[in-house]
Amino acid sequence: MSGPATTTRGTMAPRFNGVDFYDTASLLSEEERAVRDTVRAWVDDKLAPIIAEHYLEGRFPLHLVPQMAELGFFGANLPEEYGCAGLNNVAYGLIMQELERGDSGVRSFASVQGALVMYPIHAFGSEEQKKRWLPKMAAGEVIGCFGLTEPDYGSNPGGMITTARETKDGWLLNGAKMWITNGSTAKVAIIWAKAGALDDPSSIRGFVVPTDTPGFSARDQRGKLSLRASDTSELVLQDVKVGKDALLPKSKGLKSPLSCLTQARYGIAWGAVGAAMGCYEEALSYAKQRVMFGKPIAGFQLQQERLAQMLTEITKAQLLVLQLGRLKDRGKATPAQVSLAKRNNVNMACEIAREARRLLGANGILVEYTAMRHLANLESVYTYEGTHDMHTLILGEEITGISAFE
């Protein structure tokens, strides 16, 4: 006879209870809470116990992909007719929030698969392409990657030099991409290339390229100190021939890949809240138990200030993304609004992770605690999907009407 079952799913994993100082749960629908709870429980049971090992080894936990697919995490806000969960954007955001509380690298996998691969196929693809790829991607049977960034073109994707030359039977692609999440495991790559002159960003088009096409190669980038439980690869396209049906027919100009980024950035703004909540909870729990000079360190003023500051930033960020999600569901969220959220939330998460690491003292450098892994991961999140500085300029242009990019 065993004692009481206390965790759901009958497991014994410690449970994350969230951080919700302003009762944002009451602003969610019953389904949104249920979605959050499923992902939260899955992360507790399946991701949290194994992530330290994968992070240290620099290995993405590929075995989790079928589970994530079965639960419906990929392309969750895309329609049911393509095998997706058909959730609203707030529920999608909650998935990203809970995944990132587990690990930014695993959340990056889901962001790429959903927002950067399935989304462009849904937004710019033909019906045939949608039917061919989306259900399999939702099921995790086909993993995709998004090839936009190049070795010399990061913040300035319009300057890309990957080319697509139209041929009798299709297209010939040449170029190189870098910093591509899922690159080495992907079966399919969404490659953005210029179909016209190199100085003409309006000629950018999207192509669905099977990665086993001759001339296509992917190689993992080594020596990463961040997002270690994620595959980050270089892609090389050397005279890669694809058929006419590889082109995403509705893709046109830089706006197309940028709109995909906006989707991903939206999810990342939520994800950052998850990472921050995880760091805060861990720091608070530690502070209450760690005794120094005869009392828990939670009783010292400097630590209370740290915790109060963390909680304040988390609370602000939660309300920010929730309203953004509601706007998005009404079809009214603008890219600049998404930039504001990504910029603010990722920055605050970086700071919270750092402060949590410091509160944990020497223990904070051990992988057994999550703060330093989050801290390292969030540096990538700060830089990718539009660096903090780029979002600053996006907002600046939006507010003033004057571009300060060049």
Partner: protein
């Protein structure tokens, strides 16, 4: 295969217990409610049995206030087909009163299996399942950790102190689930969306008389602070003395 699962909406097991102003119940402010963890094993078992049989229906039945529909929807999100709410503003502390209402609902349902979690994590009664079986005159095995069904007959295992009982019975039967009977599935996100469209019937619970009256609910007494007797093995004789003369456990 037609299967009923009786479920309960209970406070989350990590709830910090506060006594309500009435002195006899839990203060529910800020309390998160969940599907009773033991009932998850029952729901999962029902779903697996239906899947194995190839066809059938899983009905989730809850007795409780209106808001218990959320709990029924958790079971629907896992895959149950429909739900029934037996409405009662307060769930009585009297397990037999509850069992009578459940038995009245189950009686003519034609169920092959009626499943419960072995107990609820709030009241710890361990009673509703076997009481329903007794009222309906059905075979019942409680706290099962293993189950085999074949051709209208079943064999279940249950842990007892220092052993495992192997119990045989015929269907229809009432079974209550112990932790570890199976691994409950997470409600898939599609399932959560589908649950909104599945029917839940609601009717007043035909409760029996509530003859267990809670006269008080209180926090347990704090243990008195103890003391460190000494350091190292040399402290053992003093510990022995205290255990013998003061604590009187030796």
């Amino acid at each position: 295969m037609k299967i009923a699962v009786c479920i309960k909406r209970t406070p989350d097991t990590e709830t910090r217990v506060r006594i309500a102003a009435d002195g006899v119940s839990l203060d529910e402010t800020g309390v998160k409610f969940i599907l009773n963890p033991y009932d998850e094993f029952a729901v999962e078992e029902a779903l697996q049995r239906k899947e194995k049989a190839g066809s059938g229906e899983v009905v989730a039945i809850a007795l409780g206030p209106d808001v218990a529909q959320e709990t029924i929807r958790s079971a629907l999100a896992m895959g149950a087909d429909r739900g029934v709410l037996l409405k009662a503003d307060k769930v009585p502390a009297d397990a037999l009163a509850v069992a009578k209402a459940l038995a009245a609902e189950l009686k003519d349902g034609g169920y092959d299996l009626i499943l419960f979690g072995k107990m609820a994590v709030d009241d710890y009664n361990h009673a509703a399942g076997p009481m329903v079986a007794e009222l309906l005159g059905l075979p019942c095995v409680t706290a099962i950790s293993k189950l085999e069904l074949e051709g209208g007959k079943g064999v279940a295992e249950r842990e007892i102190e220092g052993g495992v009982e192997v119990v045989e019975f015929a269907l229809p039967a009432v079974l209550t689930a112990e932790k570890g009977l199976n691994t409950p599935r997470y409600p898939a996100l599609k399932g959560i969306m589908a649950a909104k469209k599945k029917p839940i019937e609601s009717r007043p619970a035909a409760l029996g008389p509530a003859r267990v009256v809670v006269s008080a609910l209180a926090l347990p007494p704090e243990r008195q602070a103890g003391r460190i007797v000494g350091e190292g093995p040399d402290a053992v004789p003093e510990l022995m003395r205290l255990l013998r003369t003061e604590a009187k456990v030796l």
